[in-house]
Subunit: 217 residues, 2 copies
């Protein structure tokens, strides 16, 4: 065991993301990450199982925060109240000091199909865990799964809005606004026409930036 390094986890995370952006994810080694951070490989492995965990390790803790907030919400809380509590509980991971990391992480994942799959899977698992936490409160399964998808969409929209460089609002404020927005859209689903068929085929549109999982504002 090496000596305690102040702020080692974040230093490693910043070094890894910078290298992933510069050289590509596959071409970056753990040794290079540790070196860039001024730390040792063994310090890296005390914080992360592998370099992929730099990108996805936080999401397990995020899922835990979401589900605990839902489980411990007051008995009188509505489903949407539970989602709001979950989003507020997640905010601890999205402080102003960490905002500059978000676009880097997004760019690294967008450039790598295997990482995109991992991101989709993490998102699906987050929705599943939130639904299970709602079901544990007595919400029926269909409503719980619908609410969980709304919660994950609100989270995605909020994260994208929070991460823009000139944003000055807190994650919680943005997330609660996104949740209210989605709730309003859900309440009028199917009320408006889905516009006219576009000139481009859906296949063309799928190739456009921003048409992946992450939702830009």
């Amino acid at each position: 065991m090496g000596r305690w390094e102040p702020n080692a986890r974040e230093r490693l995370e910043r070094a890894a993301l910078a290298l992933f952006v510069e050289r590509g994810y596959d071409a970056t080694t753990v040794a290079e990450i540790a070196d860039r951070a001024g730390l040792t490989k063994s310090t890296f492995f005390r914080h992360f199982a592998d370099k992929r965990e730099v990108l996805f390790g936080g999401q397990d803790r995020l899922t835990e925060r979401f589900t605990r907030a839902i489980a411990t919400a007051p008995a009188t809380a509505t489903t949407v109240d539970c989602l709001g509590a979950a989003l507020a509980a997640a905010a601890v991971a999205f402080t102003a000091e960490r905002r500059d990391l978000a676009p880097q992480r997004r760019a690294v994942i967008a450039a790598h199909s295997e990482l995109q799959e991992r991101e989709l899977l993490k998102r699906a698992r987050l929705a599943g865990a939130m639904a299970d936490a709602l079901i544990a409160r007595g919400t029926d399964e269909v409503s719980a799964r619908l609410a969980a998808e709304v919660g994950v969409l609100a989270f995605g929209a909020a994260h994208a809005r929070w991460a823009v460089p000139d944003n000055e609002r807190s994650f919680t404020e943005i997330a609660h606004a996104a949740l209210r927005d989605l709730q309003a859209r859900a309440s009028t689903l199917g009320a408006g026409a889905a516009e006219s068929p576009a000139a481009e085929s859906p296949l063309d549109v799928r190739a456009l930036p921003g048409s992946g999982f992450t939702m830009d504002p």
Copy 2:
């Protein structure tokens, strides 16, 4: 190229699912599947790239049917109309004659974590493709993603209800009812209390059957 075998694809599919259930997915070989179906390995490989495609090959065609139906819906169609058209277009894959295959496929996937991941990923991609098709019609991104999740939830609920042994209703009828149900739930999201916190922890609930992606009625 061997001679044309009547109904070869479905014979192979039935043989594969029966063997997956009997012996497990990993222990079943393509040679055994072909043998059980009374066909050759080369016939198998004319229909499926590998044994995993027996389980998931149909979902690519399903995604194509969903997105084409959304793209070609009338200009006056609402978002929910588009989802209804997508579900109706999918019904061709869910005929009464194929209903007995659904519980087998579900059981095989439920018993295998890698296949569960593949199923989650396919579901996420289906939602993404439906959202892209709605965006191509002019629906804004957030509304399109919300509607696509509702469509995928309706599909999952409908598939589970359609697959029960004593069901006599058509897939389209069940799917349209599921869509109306989800639309109604979406419109009142957050109106009711999410019940009181349950005695069990969310972790206990996650281990219960039926708490995975598939939604049983």
